[in-house]
Amino acid sequence: MSLTLDPTLGLPLVYLVDDEDVVRDALAWLLRSRRLLSEGYGGADAFWQQLQTLRSGDTSWPGSPLCLVLDVRMPGTSGLELFERLVEAALLPVLPVIFLTGHGDVPTAVAAVKRGAFDFVEKPFSNNALVDRIEQALAQSAAELTRRREQRSRARRMAELTEREAEVMRLVIEGLPNKRIADALGISVRTVEVHRARVFEKMDVKSAVELANRLRDPTG
């Protein structure tokens, strides 16, 4: 099974944060066998620093779907602490977290899932099943990226509308026929039709229904 993602997005990347080199290496090797890029970090702090660097360097970060495979128990900053920081920074939608739990950590992991983690996998894990979950997480991340891009483009289009065009668009969405719009705005039906055509063109839609859908559904 192979992951199919929006080609306009960058290459998906999996971050592996685990203090066990052996596990990290083996997992990276496994991901490579599934044609997935990965980056390994031996501790939560090292990863957090890298993340801060990336976010400050590029305002449009992230450009590609991401996923974080995180060990719960680590010396120094624990996986849970790192997770809390990610929740605070509202990074979970673009950076889904999959926890790796050892013996006796299941309740903590369940609690984390309830707080927004994508999933948890108990060690020893079934390898390909883990990779499947990683791919699903990447897909979620990609979807979020696409939605954000759509949102940005819609905002840009809305900004291009003139004041009168915006008024006409509002009335069109309410479902009024052109004649009523003309009466309401005190302009001729012909003028209304011209504005309407301009709105459709700028908003990149073909009908009033499509326009309404686009504006109502934030994910587009």
Binding site: E20, V22, V23, D25, A26, L27, W29, L30, R32, S33, R34, G102, H103, G104, K123, P124, F125, S126, N127, N128
Partner: protein, 678 residues
């Protein structure tokens, strides 16, 4: 308060005493006065009587004299008649005839009395008679003279009175007829002997001088009555003086009796009052003592119970009722104490019977107390400590048993709790070690295994879609797999080393010692649910070669499981835990731990020894698997049967341990080569 009441009572008593005193005094006074007035009345009456009698006597004499006067003309006849008259009337001493010129005509002296005028002559003492005759002549009627004294022979004398009769002869003065009357004789004649016995009667003069007296005693001068005897021409004063003295303080017997009785009565009342008050005091003291004792009994938290020799309850205090939850009446009426748990009632009955057996003297009653199990009304069982002593009545008969009963359930609970806690602590410490070891082991093994799995999965992935890099990558993967497999092997080896180290701790040990070590803990747990623990091991006890701590743990584990299996499901009487040990083989000793619980079904039985399998919420599921591991490390085997062979319920766990050669046998010659060869 007390003092005020006492003072009031004292006032009452003194008032009563005073009243009685006044009444008695009054009684005495009144009686005395009554007596006095009675005597006085008697005396008065007597005086009147005697006066009247004297007077009538004198008048009769006067008449007789008048009759005599009729014969005055014939002197001889007169003389005879006068003599006759004198003889008949002893009070008359002398009768004279006088001429009108006071010349003595004739005189007759009484024949029964002394001649009157012998000491002095008649003419020397006729003044009074002359005066009387003058008065008589004047009034032409008989007249009496004043009384006068006539001395007689021997120094004595006599008071007499003269009666003068004027005589007329045809209207012409014919002289006088003069009679002398003896006053003492007159008085004596007027008195009866009765009267003379008790009174002194006398004629007195105006100044009280006695003229003539009659009567035996002298008058006392207390009861006195005067009476005048009115005579023509003269008056005699008669005085009666009773011989009775003034009334004494106790005038007569009746009063004395009344008085005495009153005093006696008062004394009795006083005694009675003292007795009553003493009795009241004693009663108050008794009531106080009773109240004190009752308060003491009520405030006790120790239950008190008195039973007669048949075991029937005669008395219980409130603490005992509160303890068992039955009322005193319920307890007294019950034939079998309702606080005996039904399953133990027979045992208790036997115990009681044993105590009442003739051989069981009161001296052997335990002063140290014994612990037993009672049941509350709600069915709850609780441990009590009983201290019993024989009840001996005033005559020294043994009438029953008095027991002090202490509810020690709370204490036991705390003890149990602390012991359990301690045990749990030990167990958890042990488990922590085990758990820690398991965790460490799993972690240590997890890493290489996870890595190996990853490489294997990755390799398979690569082989599905091979490319140019594949052989190199596979090679790398295999290399890593080999490394990790070796690492896992090292972990396993270290575990083996640990087990081997424990094996060196094995020792030769008597089975009895093993059981002794675990039984206190087992009994403690058993008591909580009322489980009986029965051990059965041959004598002498076989010896086993084992790691003492580990085997003790196995026994504890199995016993605890057995007790818990019976805790909820079977009836209390059937809760018996049997621990049996048998030398089943020359080289093996078998331990049996059997319960009477519901048993283990086949499906459960199949997974029983699986690690981490448990039916209890708090259990780790390591108990049985660990037990089996321990037993197997010793070279033995562990197994179970459900139901227990030969019965229809329960479960029996068995395990074997290698028998250790007994020290005695080891020393014997026949076994020595064998011991050496092994």
């Amino acid at each position: 308060m007390q003092q005020r009441r006492r003072r009031g009572r004292l006032a009452l008593w003194s008032a009563l005493f005073l009243l009685l005193l006044v009444a008695l005094t009054l009684l005495v006074l009144l009686t005395a006065r009554h007596e006095a007035s009675r005597v006085q009345d008697q005396v008065d009456a007597l005086a009147g009587d005697v006066a009247a009698k004297v007077r009538s006597e004198l008048l009769r004499t006067q008449q007789a004299l008048q009759a005599l006067a009729a014969h005055a003309a014939a002197p001889q006849r007169w003389q005879d008649d006068a003599l006759e008259l004198l003889r008949q009337n002893v009070e008359l001493l002398r009768i004279e005839r006088r001429q009108p010129d006071w010349q003595l005509g004739a005189a007759v002296d009484s024949p029964v009395a002394q001649p009157l005028f012998k000491v002095i002559g008649r003419n020397e003492s006729d003044i009074d008679g002359a005066a009387a005759c003058t008065a008589a002549r004047r009034s032409a009627a008989p007249a009496f003279s004043r009384s006068y004294f006539v001395p007689l022979d021997g120094g004595v004398g006599l008071e007499v009175i003269d009666l003068c009769l004027p005589m007329l002869d045809g209207g012409r003065d014919d002289g006088y007829q003069l009679a002398t009357v003896s006053l003492p004789t007159l008085l004596a004649a007027a008195l009866t002997p009765e009267q003379t016995r008790r009174h002194e009667v006398s004629f007195v003069e105006g100044d009280g001088a006695r003229l003539a007296r009659a009567g035996a005693p002298r008058g006392m001068g207390v009861y006195r009555a005067d009476s005048l005897v009115d005579l023509p021409g003269s008056t005699l004063r008669l005085r009666v003086d009773s011989a009775l003295g003034p009334p004494g303080p106790i005038p007569n017997l009746t009063t004395a009796a009344v008085l005495g009785l009153s005093v006696l009565l008062f004394a009795l009342a006083l005694l009675l009052a003292r007795d009553v008050s003493r009795r009241a005091r004693a009663e108050a003291a008794l009531a106080e003592a009773l109240a004190f004792r009752k308060a003491m009994e009520d405030s006790l938290i120790t239950g008190l119970r008195a039973r007669d020799l048949d075991g029937h309850i005669r008395y219980v205090n409130p603490a005992f009722c509160a303890m068992v939850g039955f009322s005193a009446d319920e307890l007294r009426e019950a034939r079998v104490p309702p606080y005996w748990p039904p399953e133990l009632a027979d045992t208790y009955q036997q115990r009681q019977a044993l105590r009442q057996a003739p051989g069981h003297s009161t001296q052997t009653a335990s002063r140290e107390g014994f612990e037993t199990l009672f049941m509350r009304k709600n069915g709850e069982r609780f441990a009590v400590m009983i201290y019993e002593a024989p009840l001996v009545d005033g005559q020294g008969h043994h009438t029953g048993w008095m027991s002090a009963v202490l509810d020690v359930s709370a204490q036991r609970r705390i003890e149990d709790l602390s012991r359990q806690q301690q045990e749990r602590l030990q167990a958890s410490a042990r488990l922590a070690t085990i758990g820690e070891m398991a965790s460490l082991l799993s972690h240590e093994l997890n890493q290489p295994l996870a890595a190996i799995a990853s490489y294997a999965s990755g390799s398979l992935n690569l082989m599905d879609q091979p490319d140019a890099d594949t052989p190199a990558m596979l090679r790398q993967a295999m290399q890593r797999v080999a490394e990790q497999a070796e690492r896992a092997g090292r972990v396993i080896k270290s575990v083996h080393d640990f087990v081997r180290r424990r094996e060196q701790l094995r020792e030769s040990l008597g089975v009895d010692l093993l059981l002794e070590a675990v039984l206190p803990l087992v009994r403690l747990q058993a008591r909580k649910s009322g489980t009986e623990v029965v051990t059965d091991l041959p004598q002498p006890a076989p010896r086993v070669q084992c790691d003492r701590t580990m085997v003790e743990q196995v026994l504890l584990n199995l016993a605890r499981n057995a007790i818990q299996a019976m805790e909820h499901s079977s009836d209390p009487a059937a809760r018996v835990l049997r621990i049996r040990v048998r030398q089943t083989h020359e080289r093996w000793v078998t331990f049996y731990v059997a319960d009477a619980g519901p048993g283990i079904d086949r499906e459960l039985g199949a997974r029983l020894f699986t690690p981490f399998f448990t039916t209890r919420r708090e259990g780790m599921g390591l108990g049985l698997s660990l037990c089996r591991t321990v037993v197997e490390q010793h070279g033995g085997a562990m197994d179970f049967d459900s139901p227990v062979p030969g019965t229809r319920s329960g479960t029996e766990f068995r395990f074997t341990l290698p028998a250790a050669p007994a020290p005695k046998r080891a020393a014997s010659a026949s076994d020595a080569p064998q011991t050496l060869s092994t």
